[in-house]
Symmetry: C2
């Protein structure tokens, strides 16, 4: 199945995982369209000052792929920075978090694999 960019609807997720501000998510595919393979497949827009709070994964796992902008990130507790083209994988039993401390929006693709 195909989902066009212009068909994706925005869902605002305030204080996501205890984070600050609002994360705007554009579902590439709805959870029920993913046939049990994944729980989320979305573009996440993180405005300046906004964050996704630190949270664990398991039994699922998550891939982040940076599309635009820069994010501070915590990869299982270790602080780092994500730039466009970088990937972060949070396996079962690991944690992650991101925060936009820049003055430009950041955008990443997030896939939560069931």
């Amino acid at each position: 199945m195909i989902r066009r960019k212009e068909q994706m609807t925005a869902i605002d997720r305030p204080n996501l995982r205890g984070g600050d501000g609002v994360i705007r998510a554009y579902n590439l595919l709805e959870p029920q369209e993913l046939c049990g393979k994944a729980n989320l497949c979305a573009i996440m827009t993180v405005e300046p000052g906004c964050s996704i709070g630190e949270h664990p994964h398991g039994p699922d796992a998550e891939i982040y792929y940076m599309l635009e902008g820069t994010l501070e990130a915590w990869d299982d507790g270790e602080k780092t920075v994500l730039n466009p083209g970088d990937a972060m994988f949070t396996a079962q039993g690991k944690t992650h978090a991101v925060r936009n401390t820049s003055d430009k929006p950041a955008k990443m693709l997030a896939v939560v694999i069931a």
Copy 2:
């Protein structure tokens, strides 16, 4: 874990799934790093004239997310065009294929979920 854009190594895959030319894949994560959750997580570069031949999925499923350029695509046999920002999901039991009939390279993220 983090994989930087500049750490990703290119793997050339000629005649991928019976397609034409060479597809260059940059693994965001190696299969053994994906903890059994996915079999592939890569940026696929499709040069003009190149293609990935039609093939079925199952028991795995695949997400394509278009990053750059334009591809002709076959979504379970139905011909369409993929532009940047579009997504294609090939569930278990479905088929897909892509071909670059444009004069510019095309780039997509591919995730094969186990």
